[in-house]
């Protein structure tokens, strides 16, 4: 007999996320079809280029997947801590311990970044290689229950395997970007040396045009997917702790602070940014429609509205 549960999945979010992934798949298939089309029309030289781009792009993707934890920690200037290191490390470990016991997850490694920017991130290719990092700024600003909400959000990213999902989703964009570059330099330097001059030039131009379109479309879709993953993590985190309001107050505190602080040190790497609790400075402040399309995180208003839904769901008396 299934136990009674109060946690209904969010169908709307599921549908939108499925649609986004489906569109990414469509772009992928269209891309392959266009490449094959160019290859058969103009000969084998383009096939070799594409093959080269796939190998190189695959290498990048696998590398960033396997070293995501090390890369992220190094970029953020974070250091792994043990519970006995300092009172704040003990506090962080205490919260992570309880969340893991509640969610039945293996305990991730815990790190603290020595910066006053209030933020937190989790990374690692799976739950066994995960690391959760909080900055000194967020530890200082948030109360225990708010910090717990933030960490529950980050650990939901780990549970959802967001690093893997987003790496795979970005694979297409990486290859398209590489092809644009290869085709561009091929056009500049390669054309003259070939016997079938005009042909090679056309191949390069066609490759470049297709790749640019694919890159632009997949970029927007990836950002859309990223925003849905953030909403999912908010939702799962709030359900785990049972306190959506703590997460909401943490969001308000952190985004408010972040918008005011102009430092850029945590923004050095864009892919890393995608797994922060809130993106640094620039986008969280503005909530115009256009900025939202390019943003990795949903707007504060949207996140608060979704958390309100969770709150209503949890408070309902009859189940």
């Amino acid at each position: 007999m299934a136990a009674r549960t109060r946690y209904a999945p969010d169908r709307g979010l599921t549908v939108r996320m499925t649609a986004t992934m489906f569109l990414l798949g469509v772009v992928f298939v269209a891309f392959i079809a266009a490449i094959i089309g160019i290859g058969t029309a103009y000969g084998a030289s383009s096939t070799a280029i594409v093959f080269f781009a796939v190998i190189l792009g695959g290498g990048f993707a696998i590398g960033s997947l396997f070293y995501s934890d090390k890369i992220a920690l190094a970029t953020a200037g974070a250091r792994e801590v043990s519970p006995t290191d300092s009172p704040e490390a003990a506090r962080l470990h205490g919260i992570v311990d309880r969340l893991c016991a509640l969610a039945d997850m293996p305990k991730p490694r815990v790190a603290i970044a020595d910066t006053d920017m209030p933020n937190a991130f989790a990374t690692g290719r799976n739950a066994d290689h995960a690391v959760v990092c909080a900055t000194r700024g967020i530890l200082r600003r948030l109360e225990n229950d708010e910090l717990e909400g933030v960490l529950a959000h980050e650990m939901s990213h780990v549970a959802h395997k967001d690093v893997q999902v987003m790496t795979i989703a970005s694979f297409l964009a990486i290859i398209a970007a590489l092809l644009v570059r290869i085709a561009f330099y091929g056009e500049l330097f390669g054309g003259g040396r070939r016997s079938n001059d005009s042909n090679a030039g056309v191949v390069m131009l066609a490759l470049m045009a297709v790749s640019i379109v694919v890159y632009a479309v997949s970029f927007l879709l990836i950002r859309l997917l990223s925003r849905y993953r953030e909403l999912s993590a908010d939702r799962s985190g709030a359900l785990l702790t049972g306190r959506p309001s703590s997460l909401k107050s943490a969001l308000v505190k952190v985004t408010g602070d972040m918008a005011r602080i102009p430092t850029r040190d945590l923004r050095t790497s864009q892919p890393l940014n995608a797994f922060f609790f809130t993106p640094a400075a620039h986008l969280s402040a503005s909530s115009s429609k256009l900025a939202n399309i390019f943003s990795t995180h949903p707007s504060l208003e949207r996140r608060l509205a979704e958390l309100d839904k969770v709150q209503q769901q949890l408070g309902r008396t009859a189940g």
Binding site: T5, T14, M17, M21, G94, L102, P106, T241, Q311
Partner: protein, 193 residues
Amino acid sequence: MGFLDTLLGRTKPVQPKLDDLFALPSAAVTLDAGAGFKPTGSGSVCFRPVEGRSFSDVQKDVQDLLNSSSHAEGGLPVEVSKDDYGFTWLVSSRMSDEIEALVTDLHAVNSSLVDNGFGPQLLCTLVAFKDEQERRLALIYLYKRGSFYPFAPLSGERRNNALELEIKGVIGDDLKWEPDLARWFPVWGAPGL
């Protein structure tokens, strides 16, 4: 989590496993015989309160239930306390030889929460022990894993790992132990310990 849940970024809340809790009374006998630790008679259930009316109603019902049963048997009322991490502890105090009654009390809390759909909120349950040198020891049951681990606090947020491992050896197969040592998390200052 299934593949589809991963793909769609959903987590299913983990339901607690309750049955293994009843292994405690026999383990307590083994513990007394093997290491001289006796139950203090106090035990507690730790859970994560949920916002909203629905959960506070359930919590109040559980307290009333336990209070009325312990009152009928001449025991102490149930204590409620919150810890620094926002978790609630319901502490039940019995006589030191009433460990079966204690486990029944703890189980009543579990089943009320589970029956009302709040099973995923259960964190752990703790039963306290003490030996003749007043060394403290707790056996902690992790609901989500259905496993136990020992916790022996010393003064100043240090723990006696040697004693913990010894206790695990003494009790042996009477309890289902948590194999992953990283999950033996400390519960400093837990009420009832």
